[in-house]
């Protein structure tokens, strides 16, 4: 090798390069941890993206380097609904097997959210499980080079961002196509919009059996065959557009999935009786959508070498992560806080809430921040009619409380009050509910954060511990 200036520079660069990178990474990690501590101290919430933003600026390429150091690899979860719960389930399964798992906080599912999670991961971390926003997925796949990608479903959600469900499917497919060789793809075989778009990449499938949802889906996508555009016929429709289907014209039909979860009992908000791999289990989360999340995580575990009989154990004590469903207390009244994001999700949780005996009043909180989707017209595709038919008194809240009120009015139930102010809506619901009755709050993402903030900040309110 020559010892001219250029050669010396090259040697120097090769020697110093990694040192600089390492120190940048160290700086990134240290800085990110400090930012996280500060953010928490100021009560900015778990979803802050400040650490990740810092990391991106200080140490480009950090995510790739840090991911490569995770001995047991990275699992990514994406799709419209169920990302957070599925990722949390997979993380709990892997933790129960003794792996040191790093995950991203709920809602921090853009590139910088994953960067932030990796930046504050302990040295001992050996595996990463991250939920990833559909729009950010390709970039995250390229950086983290995961061993597995789990795709939950495609629904109409945040149309102002994605435009159409087909575009979401395209984003997921695009990301799946740049996975490293040997990576495994798991996809929902009951999703006639998702499955055909990744079929050519030989995914493994998961699905749910044993539950017939409403036969006429008012809140699903138009059920058209992905191959020829003709309408689909369902042999068993679990909910919205998910189920076993075949095309009325061409030869397309749903694949039989490698792993299925069979629903025995789906009646409660926080109970789900299922059968899988020969075991009968009772889970402490409710709803058909959670049966799908369970199926996805068991399929992921199985592909990682953990059989369902082992994987199911930690799921028996699994509680939904931050905010999906949460029991709270405020000024002497018990609340059940439930997240709703889109028509199918809202329909599913309304269904469950109506199955609970102690619900006395319902607060419907709709906001229109970027995290909620700025266009709230999706509430017209959600089945609020069954809520109206139940006769339960309703209060609407959130920044678009009036839109929610109009929706309820046309569904057949004029709300008792329309109160954009969060505390006002909670207080009115408390007054309406009879003693001992629980108030259910159906909230969009930012409204849910507002509720938590209001209760947390209130001197009178306190969080009830999560009990049996």
């Amino acid at each position: 090798m020559s010892t001219t200036g250029a050669g010396t520079n090259a040697i120097a660069r090769d020697a110093i390069g990694p040192l600089l990178t390492a120190s940048h990474d160290g700086l990134a990690e240290g800085g990110a941890r400090s930012i996280r501590v500060l953010s928490r101290g100021f009560g900015l919430g778990a979803g802050t993206s400040a650490p990740g933003l810092f990391v991106e600026r200080i140490a480009p390429g950090f995510v790739a380097r840090r991911s490569a150091r995770l001995r047991d690899g990275v699992v990514l979860v994406s799709g419209t609904n169920g990302k957070t719960t599925t990722a949390a389930m997979i993380a709990s399964i892997l933790s129960a097997q003794g792996l040191d798992v790093v995950t991203n906080a709920s809602g921090a599912n853009l590139f910088r959210g994953i960067a932030g999670a990796l930046a504050v991961a302990p040295r001992s971390a050996s595996a990463g499980v991250f939920e990833v926003d559909e729009g950010a997925l390709e970039r995250v796949v390229r950086a983290t080079r995961p061993r597995m990608l789990v795709l939950t479903n495609v629904f109409r959600d945040q149309l102002d961002r994605f435009g159409e469900p087909e575009m979401v499917a395209k984003a997921l497919t695009g990301a799946a196509q740049v996975l490293p060789p040997g990576a495994v793809i798991l996809a929902n075989a009951d999703d006639p919009l998702l499955w055909p778009s990744v079929e050519h990449l030989s995914p493994s499938g998961f699905g749910v059996r044993g539950h017939r949802g409403r036969t006429q889906s008012i809140d699903g996508e138009p059920e058209l065959c992905a191959r020829c555009g003709s309408s689909l016929e369902y042999l068993e429709r679990t909910f919205a557009h998910l189920g076993q289907a075949r095309c009325s014209r061409c030869s397309w039909r749903s694949t039989t999935p490698g792993l299925t979860v069979e629903i025995r009992d789906c009646s409660g908000l926080e109970r789900l009786g299922i059968t899988t791999g020969g075991c009968e289990i009772l889970l402490r989360i409710g709803g058909v959508h959670n049966a799908y999340n369970t199926a996805a995580s068991l399929a992921a575990a199985s592909a990682l070498g953990i059989p369902p009989t082992l994987a199911i154990q930690p799921l028996q004590t699994f509680r939904p992560p931050f905010g999906r469903t949460e029991r709270l207390e405020f000024e002497g009244t018990r609340f059940l806080l439930v997240l709703m994001k889109n028509p199918a999700g809202a329909g599913a949780v309304i269904d469950q809430i109506l199955g609970e005996r102690d619900i006395a009043t319902v607060v419907v909180m709709v906001s229109d921040q970027w995290s909620d989707g700025r266009d709230v017209s999706w509430i017209w595709d959600a089945d609020f009619e069954s809520l109206a038919r139940s006769g339960l008194p309703v209060v609407t809240g959130g920044r678009r409380a009036a839109d929610a009120a109009v929706r309820l009015k046309y569904a057949g139930s004029v709300p008792r009050a329309v109160l954009p102010n969060v505390v006002g809506a909670l207080r009115r619901a408390c007054r309406i509910a009879p003693i001992g009755g629980t108030v259910a709050i159906l909230a969009t993402y930012s409204a849910m954060l507002d509720v938590r903030a209001a209760i947390f900040a209130s001197r009178v309110g306190r969080m009830a511990p999560v009990t049996g």
């Binding site: 159409e164 058209l224 839109d403």
Partner: protein, 233 residues
């Protein structure tokens, strides 16, 4: 029409609004749904075509040719036809999809639409004139199509806030005889009860002797209208 195909975008809310507002005035309303291969129901007084995905709209292309005459005849005989977003595009003469494939529309509006990659999205406020009534419309637009109107169609309104039909000429929607088109979502009719009532009055005119509809308590709708109006782009 095409409810199982063109219902991606909250148009159920528009149908529900028209239905209930007519019922609350004492009308008995029948809701018919006509999909691919089915004729326009006879005697329909108000026909709504909603929004849909590009793929869904293309699926309907062949059927549109069969419906042209039926819908034109219905409009001639006094039915109101309203198209929203995708439905609006298909009421025009021609619709060009993102990949350049062109389909002939229903030809009830002198309008042509070309799809561009950049989507026009955001809150909208339009000032409209509809059959002699001045309306302020609020809503949300979300479309890749750029629609331009020919001489036989009037715009529904102008957009002091928003991009409207094509982001260039300041117009929103279209109006030609009894046929109306708009890009507004919200859904547009629950957020704009006067717009809904104007459509109903026109459609029900022959039955009511052109009496105005009795007023309803729209205080909730007005609050929602205000909240939508305040949205910033």
């Amino acid at each position: 029409m095409y409810p199982d195909v063109l219902r991606t975008y909250g148009d159920r809310g528009n149908v529900l609004t028209l239905l209930r507002r007519a019922e609350w005035r004492g009308f008995r309303v029948a809701l018919d749904e006509a999909t691919i291969g089915e004729s326009v129901p006879a005697g329909a007084r108000l026909i709504l075509l909603g929004g849909g995905t590009d793929r869904a709209q293309r699926t309907m292309g062949p059927d549109l040719a069969k419906r042209r005459h039926e819908l034109a005849a219905a409009a001639e005989s006094g039915a109101v036809v309203i198209g929203i977003c995708g439905g609006y595009q298909l009421l025009g003469e021609r619709f060009v999809a993102a990949d350049g494939e062109a389909i002939d529309g229903l030809g009830l509006l002198d309008a042509k639409t070309v799809t561009r990659p950049r989507r026009i999205t955001g809150p909208v406020r339009a000032v409209a004139q509809l059959w002699g009534r001045a309306l302020e419309l609020v809503g949300f637009e979300n479309h890749g199509g750029r629609t331009s109107l020919g001489p036989r169609a009037d715009p529904l309104g102008v957009v002091p806030k928003g991009q409207g039909n094509n982001g260039r000429d300041g117009t929103e929607g279209a109006l030609q005889g009894n046929v109306v088109g708009t890009y507004l979502h919200g859904p547009v009719l629950p957020l704009n009860p006067m717009f809904a009532d104007t459509l109903l009055e026109r459609a029900l005119g022959p039955l009511t002797g052109w009496e105005p509809l009795s007023p309803l308590d729209d205080s909730l709708e007005r609050r929602a209208h205000e909240a939508a109006r305040r949205m910033k782009r």
